[in-house]
Symmetry: C2
Subunit: 339 residues, 2 copies
Amino acid sequence: MTIKELAKIAGLNHSTVSRSLNDSPLVAEKTKQRVKKLAEEYNFELNANARSLITSKTGTIGIIFPVHDDKYRSVQYLGNLMDSLRIRIEEEQYDSIITCPKNPRTNLSNIRKLVKQKKVDGIILVVHQLDQEDWEVLGESKIPFVSIHFKWNDKRQDKINHVYSDNFKGGYLAAECLLKAGRRNPVCLSYGEVFEFQERRRGFRKALSDWGRNVDPGRILKYDVSSFDVGYNYIMENRENLGNIDGISAHADIVAIGAIEAMKELGIRVPEDIAVVGYDDLDINSFFRPRLTTIHQLKEEQVEMGCRKLIEMIEGDKGSGQLHAALEPTLFIRESCVI
Amino acid sequence: MTIKELAKIAGLNHSTVSRSLNDSPLVAEKTKQRVKKLAEEYNFELNANARSLITSKTGTIGIIFPVHDDKYRSVQYLGNLMDSLRIRIEEEQYDSIITCPKNPRTNLSNIRKLVKQKKVDGIILVVHQLDQEDWEVLGESKIPFVSIHFKWNDKRQDKINHVYSDNFKGGYLAAECLLKAGRRNPVCLSYGEVFEFQERRRGFRKALSDWGRNVDPGRILKYDVSSFDVGYNYIMENRENLGNIDGISAHADIVAIGAIEAMKELGIRVPEDIAVVGYDDLDINSFFRPRLTTIHQLKEEQVEMGCRKLIEMIEGDKGSGQLHAALEPTLFIRESCVI
DNA sequence: GCTTAAAATGCAAACGTGTGCAATAATCAT
DNA sequence: ATGATTATTGCACACGTTTGCATTTTAAGC
């Protein structure tokens, strides 16, 4: 059924029906009610494609996520962030399309598709880099977008609305916690050359030097994944010379959990022999013992601020200037490292 | 830029451009290439709303999920299933909109919105019940849909395309594993009055009676959530009289994991004192010790069969009749219960 | 009751595509 | 070269809405 058919039934012109269903003040309250009742009776809904063709609003938001190529994506921080975003957007009456920057099969840009085909009203980026092509697409189009979680460490960062967390601070807090707990010989299990992890390592180093410790680069390890096995294998492979280690700052909770499990199996006590601090404050941490001392990233606040800003931009209440917030992570002290 | 503007640039009528971009055989190969090159040069993409208005194809699929009201949704089976579905659909070049049956805020039906506003080409249901309203919407519209994971235990089940797993069988296998391991006094930690869990309990009872054990209803417990705490608290609250229990069939892995953790804290040995069998075969199980013996649900096969069928229906290769598959779960024996 | 203003409705043109059909251009056989 | 066939392109309408403007109806003032 189309709006014209419904109009015929109502004995009205379809434009009056359109205005009624859109709550225009131009139509008499009486007929408005009659039309709405009729629409309900006939189970009629306006065709979204036709309306967005003319209004250029789709009522959907695109969420761009980096590809997760490990099977444990659902227990990682980004998985939780994705759920939060989706639910928050749904509460705001928008649909959401979740996708990664490129279709892995065709290698075509999903961002470009969403933007240029006019499938979304706005975009939330949860990526720390973009192809030149994608960046141009976003820049040229007038579609609003907001970046969350990652910090853009380049010339563009000032022009982007984004909210991320201060990874230097987080890395510092984690290391400082170990130091305050009396540990003088910590190691750091980190992750590749991604900017946010570089920052965490910078925080780690700064804390050590602030405490007058010299920072042996050999004690800052970079892996190319962030997984249970990384932590587990680190302990197992170094079991002979764990004597000169009294603390671990793992830059992902799941790595910390792996390390702790390995130590349990070897009879090493946590935190007495080796204290451990994680990073992320995953929901699932509560399943593991000892309870993990970790860095909490203010996920919900990021989601809230990012979504609010994006929707403001979409709905035209532009105001409030640029969003450029670095949220301060906080240390949650539990059992794996106590001060 | 619109197709007409591009046509003007190309010195062609817009219909020729349209056919070129859609790879119609009606247009000369030479001009087709020229148009495509031009489109690329001007970074042009067809407006999705206009096309779906006329073709009534949107290139997106709706995924309907039950509301997750617990914060651990990402570590539950359904969370993993959601990820798999989304990724599979993306591989097939469709976008996906994930949503729950009703908007929690407005109480409006999301299914109705997606279907009647023509926002999706097809729907994947991962729910075990639907309001009458939603059912009617799906029934009246010609939009194809497939149900996954849950079994529709009512008169409609024959008319629906669905693929689910045989929960009776799974419940049976889990209990049988305990029995084969020599356990004669198992308990069952299950979940509410959802059909699939009723089936698992039925399987549990059948296995016991097949082995000549009488089934004490007091040993089949139904909780209204499925969480770590359920298992943990069960053990803790019954710590005094665990003597007459030698096995646990938990109908969700996370419950089993909670129970095992509690037993570790109490010094009860798993599986020597009490053997445990889970259900789901979650990815995260590998993080826990002892490794959980559990029921594997063939998640990927469900996703594969469901998506394939749905896309067949969307794209018109109707053939292949009704999809009505009950996949047989399998027992994965690891450490928490060995035969 | 008549004039005038305001409120409500109808008309028609968009929005950007796809597609049947007519018109033109190219190819082929003779 | 000519007519017949076929390959290619153009024309115009349709898809289902929204919205500015013209028109009609209602209300108001006296």
